[in-house]
Each structure stands twice: as C-alpha cells, then as structure tokens.
C-alpha cells in the first residue's frame, strides 16, 4: 500500500511515517502544498493523508485541484481545524474521511484501512480471499488453522495481491505500490518476493501470466 503523507510538521511527519511504515505502508512524505499536489497527481497512491494547514498551498485547494484533475485516490484529512464548517468543506471538496488532531495512531490506521477496503470494494474487517486470511495487526496470514509470519515487504505485497484478487498486476504496478518513492526500483526484486511468498504459502497462491504480470488466486479466463 503506497501512502502519501502531507504534513508540515517535520517531527509529526517523521513519527507518523515510521508508524505507518511499520504497519506495512510505503510512505512518501510531503511538507508543502505544491509538492503534495504534484505527487498526488503524478503517483498512483492507494491513500493520502492530508493536513489542511500546509504552507504554499492550502490543503483544501490541493484537494479540490486533485478532484478537478480526476485523481480519485481516497483522501483522509488530518487537521487541527475541527469546526463543522471545515469538516463540511473538506468532505464536500472530495475528502473521504476527516480526523482531527490530537489523534490516536491506531484510530488513524483503522480509518485508513477502512478507506482502502472501501475503495477496493472489499468488505469486512479482516482481509479474506479464497480461505487466505490476512491479519493486518500481526502482519501474518493464515489458512485452515495454519499461520505464516510475513516480513514487511512480503506483507505489503500479499496485501496488495489480496486487495486485487483475480486481476493481473504488472511488476511495475506492484513496485509502485509496495515501495516508497526513494526505494530501489529494480523490478526484479518483485520476482524475488513473489518467489518467497510461493515458497511459504505454496506455488498455487500466485500465478504468473507471462509478459503481463502476476495474478493472486485463479487467473482470469
């Protein structure tokens, strides 16, 4: 899951980035409005955390510009501004959720996960596809009573697969959604991790579509 974190306070941004990283997100941070608008427009994030009080360009304007440009990424507004007028404005400009500071990190995480699930059309609190159950809290996966611990990258990769079951996902798309902006983007690494998942969970869990990419579960006919 690739996440854009737009927060102007460097300390909060760093803490939150580390926290979300531990929770399996690939986090890109922006500290001003102009940069945020550019990144949100250019990169296909899975979710965006947006502070309204950004320097250079106000968050609401950034959000309005994204929606005008057709960026459909779910946006959670994270702000100190807690009047109803501002909530109404934020949601009418196209935000999907609104959380006011001070906030609890767990609550932010829960809301982000709910947003992602809603956006990918998955329902339910835990992610469960073809008997595979992904536990986001422990970053592990289980099937018929058996459990496998996953490393950070493995978890991110499997979650992305499970959120898009039955669909062909190209290596470059997987790279984009699993890695942070500044990470090494060698797409061969994806192959390595897909193989690791296969070793752990069995070969049939991910199918290779030659020249196109990978499919979680049964490939489309």
């Amino acid at each position: 899951m690739r996440l854009l974190l737009a927060e102007d306070d460097p300390e909060l941004s760093a803490r939150l980035g580390r926290y979300l990283g531990r929770q399996g997100f690939a986090v890109d941070s922006c500290t001003d409005g102009v940069e945020t608008e550019f990144s949100g427009r250019e990169i296909a994030y899975d979710v965006i955390v947006l502070d309204l009080g950004l320097p250079k360009r106000p968050g609401l304007e950034v959000l309005a510009n994204w929606r005008k440009a057709g960026v459909k990424t779910p946006v959670l507004i994270l702000t100190a501004r807690d009047t109803w007028q501002e909530k109404v404005q934020g949601l009418q400009q196209g935000a999907d959720d609104y959380l006011t500071k001070p906030f609890n990190e767990e609550e932010l995480l829960a809301r982000l996960q709910a947003l992602i699930r809603r956006n990918t059309g998955t329902v339910g609190e835990t992610l469960s596809i073809n008997d595979w159950v992904l536990d986001e809290a422990t970053q592990s996966v289980s099937r018929e009573g058996e459990r496998w611990e996953l490393t950070g990258i493995e978890f991110r990769l499997l979650r992305y697969f499970m959120l898009h079951p039955g669909r062909i996902l190209s290596k470059s798309r997987l790279t984009e959604h699993v890695y942070q902006q500044d990470a090494d983007k060698d797409s061969n690494v994806i192959e390595v991790y897909v193989n690791r998942l296969r070793q752990k969970l069995g070969n049939e869990v991910i199918t290779t579509k030659r020249g196109q990419g990978y499919v979680f579960g049964k490939p489309p006919p």
């Binding site: 009080g53 501004r81 009047t83 109803w84 007028q85 909530k87």
Partner: protein, 442 residues
C-alpha cells in the same frame, strides 16, 4: 416630530397656508383699491360735469342747470350725492334731501378722496375738489354709496377664499404625492435594513438617492469590515488551533510510546491533562469563533446548508446507515450566523448519529421562539447524566457517560448563542431528545 414625512408635510402645509393667505389679502386689497379708484374717477367726471353746468350769482349762490344733472342725483337717498359750495349758501343734490355731508373744504386746485358717513349711516366714498371760478373758490364734493361695491367686493373675497382653499388642497395633495414618492427610497432602505437584521440579505442595495447613498454605503462598508474581521479572526483561531494541536498530538504519542508501558499511573495523568488542555482549548476556540448576531453575515439556510451538512454526516459515518427524518415546518433560516448554525447542528446531529440505532429526526417549529428538536432511537441517557447536562457551565472535560462530550459541547454552544436547552427521553423514537429554544436577541 421625528418623521421626515410629517416634518416635510407640516412645513409645506404651513408655508402654503401663509403664502396663499398673503396672496388672498394682497389680491383683495388691490381689487378694492382698483374698484375705489374707478369709482373716484367716475365721481371726478360727475364733479367736472357739475362745474361745467354751473353758474354763480353775485351773492355767491350756485345755480345749476337742471338738465345737466343726472337723474340719479335727483332721487332721494339714491346713494349718489353732491354738494357744491361757492362760499355762500351750499347747493346739494336732491338725493341728499336735507342732510349735509361732513366733507371738509379743499383748497383751490386740490383734490381729496375719502370716506364719509352718508345720510342713512351708510359708508360713502367722496371726491372733493377746489376750483377757481368767477373769482371765487368753488368746493365741489361728489359721493357715492359704497354698500353695493362692498357687497360685491365681499362676495369676490369669499370666492377668492374658496378658490385659494381649493388650490391649497390641490397643492397639498400634490405635495404629499411628491413627499411620499421622494421618501420611497428611504422606506426601501429601511425595509432593506429590516431584511438585513432577519439575515435575508447581507448588503444593502445602493440604488438609493444621492442624499441617502453615503449612509447606505457607510453601513455596507461597516458590514464588510465586520465580515472581514470575523473571517480574519476565525482564520487566526484556526491557525492557533493548528499550532497548539500538533505539539499536543506529539505529546500524547510520546506519552503513549515511552511512558504507558513503564509507568502506567503517570501515563494516565499525562493523558488526562493533555486531554484537558485539548478540551479547554477547543471550548475557548469554539466560543471565540461564534459570530454572535452576525449582522449581515448570512444566516444558516436550511435549504442550502442542511443538505450539505447531512451529506457530510453520511460520508463521515458511512458504516452507519442512519435515516434522517426532517420536519422543517416551512422554516427557511435559523436565527444564527451560517457557521454558528453549522457548528450547532453539526454537533447536535453528529451526536445523534453516533448513538442512534437507525433513525434520527430533526423537527423545527417557530419562528418565535425557534425550536429545534433532535431525537434518536439509541440507548438514551440515564437520569443522572441528563441532570448533569441540564446544569449550565458543565465543563467538557467532565467526561459524561454515553452521549457525554458531544452534548456538553452543544450545551455550551447554546449558552453562548443565547437559548435554552432541555434533555429528555424521546417519546417517538425511544432514545434521547434534545430540545433547543433559540431566542432572537434584539
């Protein structure tokens, strides 16, 4: 007399009456003078005719040629009289009978015109002249009854008065029309101000006469400045919130991360105090943001603002499928500034949304006083909590069970705005009912 209209009306009536009255007097006087001058010149003709037809004998007696005397002077008390005196015995017209007119003698070559009382006590106008004839001074006086002339003149004066009065009335009507017509823009501006106070408009129309325009423009400028000030202060408060809340977030997160595990008791305290800071700050900010009467700031419009708010609530609580039943009873605006209304209704409905099972109802009635009832079908609030909520000035940090904080926010808002709030069990839905009376402060 604090009405422009009655002031103008009174001034115009007074000046009109004085003007027309003076005119009436002047015209009357001039006509009278003209008529009497005419009469005097006729008398002078008759006097000169008398002089032409007279002779004086050696005793100074005046002999008149009967045929040169007009018949009117021969009839007794006809109203036309003369007397001629050449120093001896005076000769009088037969019409005078035995009476004598007390007209003083006039020196030769001089004329006198004046009034005298006639033989039957009627007023007469006389013309008297002194002539030099046959070496003697002849005094000729001719007089005529003024009764007919005076009667005619009186009638003329009445007619003139009637016409003047008619004219005054007509002019008054025209003036009233003009006054009303010229004051209409002022009345329109007054109506505009009324609508401004009702929150129907936010600026006054400047399509007014030149004389009133500076006033209207001044009011508009003032309103504009007030709006800007409100906007700026809200902006500043938002920034203040931003600068406080971010470090507060960090404080809480650090406490949770570093202290919670090692020293749970201290963590509890840290958590408690930081929550207290947050809630006190929120309460103060919320109070400072209120616009109050918000003259010209635009009211909360139920047709525009409510649907947007409800849509926002649906989006914020997407997992809760709540149906809102609204009964607005024809009420279009709340007597609250738009953001104040948003804050009150937002908190009120958000609270109901959180606790409701499946439905929330909003009922309005009014407008004087405007009553707002929000009910839900949730678990409700127990009697103790309700009592605690009913007290004024309940602090938000005294975490109440159940509905708790949301309702104490609402309670404080209502106290600040100026209104009454009551909590009870909802009869129709079974949950909590919050009833608010909003008093329009004048």
């Amino acid at each position: 007399m604090n009405s422009l209209r009655s002031r103008l009306g009174f001034g115009l009536i007074a000046s009109l009456i004085v003007m027309i009255g003076l005119l009436w007097l002047m015209v009357g006087q001039s006509v009278k003078v003209l008529l009497e001058q005419q009469m005097a010149s006729r008398l002078a003709h008759d006097g000169e005719a008398l002089l032409g037809g007279m002779r004086i004998d050696v005793d100074g007696r005046v002999l008149l040629q009967e045929r040169r005397i007009q018949g009117i002077y021969q009839q007794p008390y006809s109203g036309h009289y003369f007397q001629v005196d050449a120093g001896g015995q005076a000769t009088r017209s037969r019409s005078l009978w035995d009476a004598k007119l007390p007209i003083p003698d006039v020196a030769a070559g001089e004329t006198r015109i004046g009034y005298v009382t006639g033989p039957q006590q009627q007023p007469l106008l006389f013309w008297a002249h002194g002539y030099q004839k046959q070496g003697r001074v002849v005094h000729i006086a001719v007089a005529e009854d003024l009764l007919t002339l005076n009667a005619g003149f009186a009638q003329f004066r009445w007619q003139l008065a009637a016409w003047s009065l008619a004219m005054v009335l007509l002019l008054l009507l025209i003036q009233q029309y003009i006054v009303i017509r010229s004051l209409r823009p002022v009345s329109a501006a007054a109506a505009d101000i009324e609508r401004l106070e009702q929150g129907e408009i936010s600026t006054l129309s400047e399509q007014v006469p030149k004389e009133v325009r500076p006033l209207v423009q001044a009011i508009n400028r003032l309103l504009d400045r007030q709006r800007q000030r409100l906007h700026r202060s809200r902006e500043a408060l938002g920034n203040l919130a931003h600068t406080i809340k971010t470090p507060l977030t960090l404080l809480q997160q650090l406490a949770r991360e570093k202290v919670a595990g090692a020293d749970p008791a201290t963590y509890e305290q840290l958590e408690h105090y930081s929550r207290q800071i947050n809630e006190r700050v929120n309460q103060s900010l919320r109070r400072a943001r209120l616009a109050g009467d918000g003259l010209g700031a635009g009211r909360f419009d139920l047709r525009q603002d409510l649907p947007v708010l409800v849509d926002t609530l649906h989006r914020l609580h997407r997992e809760r499928r709540i149906t809102l039943h609204t009964q607005l009873n024809g009420i279009i605006t709340l007597p609250l500034e738009q953001q104040d209304g948003m804050e009150l209704l937002g908190n009120l409905l958000d609270n109901a949304w959180k606790w409701a099972g499946s439905s929330v109802s909003l009922t309005l009635s009014g407008p004087e006083p405007l009553t707002l009832i929000v009910e839900d079908d949730g678990p409700g609030v127990d009697a103790a909590a309700m009592q605690s909520l009913a007290q004024r000035g309940v602090r938000q940090d005294e975490n109440l069970p159940g509905h708790g904080i949301g309702l104490s926010i609402v309670r404080n808002l209502v106290d600040e705005i100026g209104g009454d709030i009551a909590f009870s069990a909802s009869e129709s839905l079974g949950g909590l009912q919050v009833k608010i009376h909003l008093g329009r402060r004048t």
